[in-house]
């Protein structure tokens, strides 16, 4: 049976832990609010741009721009977006598991795969695995800005132009709500159109489509812009999802700590009472022996 003192210590320690998880939950909630505002503000632009992009890409010759033209090569890169910090529930585990599944499957199909990593958690994970790592970006989420997306985007695009890989997929957590995140694997390069199948949509236009300046110049400005914005959106989604996941996880942890405290306190009181009863019986027994 544990001593009363060790029980007291245990209660105090759990209480401390609870304070920490509670504080982390509040911090996450505050950060979530900011991250959520950012992603909700960025989404309309990203979606509209994607729509414009995909309308355009249906109409132009795909081979006219390197970011659009499909290549036959079998080099594939997966850009994995995780968080820098832990204690956010299954947030990173989900991403890493899906990544490993995806990479395994692509490898089975004869693809040559490599990974690029955003966030310390994915770096820690892939260091111990046998996938070749091309590039790492730790610490992006401390102060996430559009420049990070630009930096990553430029690196990836230049590597794509250089032929290091022929397909680029990005895996990230999409922010659904404060309670829900969804792991998304999305093809970023070459840029695919959204609704390839809707042939009737194109027909109704009858080919009459005006461009100013000409098509080539428009693509030249639109495509890199589109890519950067999508990159930025993926990072913002992940940042918001991370805070949401952490808030939920810490909320659960705080509640569990509360339950644990209750249980141990009950046990502590029982033990204490048992000890008192035992002592009383000893005294009573002793007094009777004297008489």
């Amino acid at each position: 049976m544990p001593s009363l003192q060790s029980l007291r210590r245990k209660i105090a320690s759990v209480k401390n832990t609870q304070k920490i998880t509670k504080a982390m939950k509040m911090v996450a909630a505050a950060k979530l609010k900011r991250a959520q505002e950012r992603i909700l503000a960025a989404r309309p632009y990203a979606h509209q741009l994607r729509e414009v992009m995909s309308n355009l890409s249906q109409r132009v010759d795909r081979s006219s721009h390197p970011l659009l033209s499909r290549r036959d090569g079998n080099m594939l890169e997966l850009l994995v977006v995780t968080s820098d910090r832990g204690l956010c529930g299954a947030f990173n585990t989900n991403i890493l598991r899906r990544s490993a599944e995806f990479l395994d499957e692509q490898r089975r199909q004869g693809k040559q795969v490599s990974v690029s990593l955003i966030g310390r958690k994915s770096i820690d994970y892939f260091k111990r695995r046998d996938w070749p790592i091309r590039q790492e970006w730790p610490g992006v989420f401390d102060r996430l800005s559009f420049e990070h997306a630009l930096d990553i985007g430029q690196n990836v695009v230049s590597q794509y132009h250089a032929g290091t890989f022929d397909h680029l997929y990005v895996v990230y957590n999409e922010f659904k709500s404060a309670m829900q995140q969804e792991v998304i694997i999305e093809k970023f390069l070459p840029i695919e159109s959204l609704h390839e199948a809707q042939a009737d949509d194109t027909q109704s236009i009858g080919g009459g489509y005006l461009y100013e300046p000409d098509e080539g110049e428009l693509l030249e400005t639109l495509l890199p812009k589109h890519f950067e914005i999508q990159m930025y959106r993926a990072l913002l989604e992940s940042a918001a999802a991370e805070q949401a996941a952490r808030m939920t996880a810490m909320d659960g942890a705080t509640r569990n700590a509360g339950e644990l405290i209750k249980k141990v306190t009950l046990f502590y009181n029982k033990t204490r009472q048992a000890a008192i009863t035992k002592e009383l019986m000893d005294i009573v027994g002793g007094a009777e022996a004297i008489q």
Binding site: A41, A42, P44, Y45, H47, Q48, L49, R50, E51, V52, S54, N55, L56, F146, L194, H195, Q198, D201, I205, G208, Y209, L210, Y211, E212, P213, E217, L218, T221, L222, I229, Y232
Partner: protein, 149 residues
């Protein structure tokens, strides 16, 4: 993401203005005029498909008899028969423009231009002067309208 068919009242166009920071406007209007990089263009319902880059300039749209003004700085515009999408780097409604700040910016830019300096500085000053003048002009539209009515 699916592309839902745009539901617009007949004889109207849906005008959407979005910037990287937020959605500024999503409204049915009668007429839009926007600053294309190769000249301003006007859009009435049923316009043919059109895609262009934008320069720094003024966006006007009319709802009924009322004309609204907005500054747009760079970006793209996509026009379909029922919808105009403006993807601007920066956009401001006339009533949101801070006139004092624009004046201040004009002064600063003009000083910089007079001083001269590195080519990049001069170019920056020219752009910021153009931006600030545009803001002044658009904010001024609001006063004109106020005086008329």
């Amino acid at each position: 993401m699916a592309n839902p068919p745009v539901a617009v009242t007949a004889g109207k166009i849906l005008l959407e203005v979005v910037t990287p920071d937020h959605r500024l406007l999503s409204q049915e209007v009668d007429y839009v005029s926007a600053p294309g990089s190769e000249g301003d263009f006007g859009v009435l319902p049923g316009h043919c498909h059109f895609l262009t880059t934008l320069r720094i300039g003024e966006l006007q749209y009319r709802i009924g008899e009322k004309t609204e003004f907005m500054s747009v700085l760079w970006g793209f515009a996509e026009v379909t028969p029922k919808k105009v999408t403006i993807l601007a780097e920066i956009a401001e409604k006339a009533e949101d423009i801070n006139v004092e700040r624009a004046e201040e910016a004009v002064k600063q830019a003009e000083e910089q231009l007079e001083r001269g300096g590195l080519a990049s500085e001069v170019k920056e000053a020219q752009i910021s002067l153009e931006k600030a003048r545009l803001r002044q002009k658009i904010a001024g539209r609001l006063h004109q309208r106020g005086a008329h009515s």
